[in-house]
């Protein structure tokens, strides 16, 4: 009896999940925008706290600080916190300064990254700017040095979801060593593609994409098969290390 009731409850839960999915789908993503807002706020606060704790040296110098008297300990802790905040601001300034030159070549805006890069199964991440800031679906997202990071896939008022250039399942038309190739994203900033026989490509060659105005999108990391082989397989990695990004530059679509 209990078994049957549990099964009925599970059936109701399944129906409810499908109903929520349908409501979100037909409302244009209202529910997922709220979920992202909450998730992003949680990530930012946790990330900020962790980064401050890490930079203050709290975990490494705790034993030595414990030996000092209470007064000095409080003073040092206060100074360390201040120093950590300064260091964090300096790092932030460096990134923002590097981004400034991009604004001169293409109109757009700088947005903070507000989520983890490794948590998404779909090669996506969140940024803290949205339609209210002029971002539209399809806008190109770049790193501070102008390397292509991805495209905006979903926009809410103050937040956007970006699909990484080499997200799992994504495909990008590119040129490797002057030969056209379609790269298939594998996630983690990696992609692979097949070139016809005779293509002259070597590890370290830059890869350009006509879809992004012939800009460099990656570097050939490994080549399998040579000139004599029936085909050549290349492994490409993105130029920028996604996990090191705190800010991105989003080009406004005209």
């Amino acid at each position: 009896m209990n078994n049957r009731r549990q099964r009925r409850n599970l059936f109701i839960a399944t129906a409810l999940v499908l109903l929520i999915l349908a409501i979100d789908f037909f409302s244009g993503g209202t529910l997922r925008a709220l979920t992202r807002q909450g998730g992003s706020a949680l990530w930012r606060s946790a990330n900020g706290a962790l980064s401050r704790a890490g930079q203050s040296g709290f975990f490494t110098s705790r034993a030595s600080l414990a030996r000092e008297n209470q007064l000095l300990k409080e003073e040092i802790a206060g100074l360390q916190e201040e120093q950590a905040q300064n260091a964090a601001l300096a790092a932030e300034n460096d990134q923002l300064r590097a981004i400034v030159h991009l604004a001169q070549s293409a109109p757009g805006l700088t947005a903070p990254v507000t989520s983890s890069f490794k948590a998404s199964p779909y090669g996506t991440f969140l940024i803290g700017a949205g339609s209210a800031d002029g971002i539209a679906k399809g806008s190109i997202v770049e790193s501070a040095d102008g390397s292509i990071v991805g495209r905006v896939a979903d926009v809410s008022a103050h937040q956007s979801l970006v699909v990484g250039l080499f997200a799992p399942g994504a495909s990008v038309e590119a040129l490797a060593g002057g030969t056209p190739v379609v790269l298939s994203g594998k996630g983690g900033g990696n992609a692979e593609g097949g070139l016809p026989r005779g293509a002259r490509v070597a590890a370290g060659d830059p890869v350009f994409s006509p879809a992004f105005g012939q800009r460099a999108i990656g570097v050939v990391g490994k080549v399998e098969g040579g000139i004599a082989s029936a085909s050549t397989k290349i492994y490409v990695r993105s130029i920028v290390n996604l996990e090191s990004l705190s800010f991105v530059y989003v080009e406004r679509t005209q």
Binding site: V17, F25, G29, R32, W43, K118
Partner: protein, 79 residues
Amino acid sequence: MVRIIIAVIGFIGAIFLPTWVPIAAIIVSAFFWRAWEAMALGLFVDFLWLPTHAFPWITLGAIAVVWLLEPIRSEFLPR
């Protein structure tokens, strides 16, 4: 209690930890219990990371796992 801990790890993992953490939480929960939270976790992951009109792989995968494991749960696990 264990069930709640696994669910919490799954939800926190969906935001902070690598992808395999919430997926493992879904599978483990669905294996041992009639876990409605496994489906909710799948939905949460898709809402967080998937563009609006893309196919919700993790949600439907979680539903499939929960229901495919139902005969095994009914057969082997204590009621």
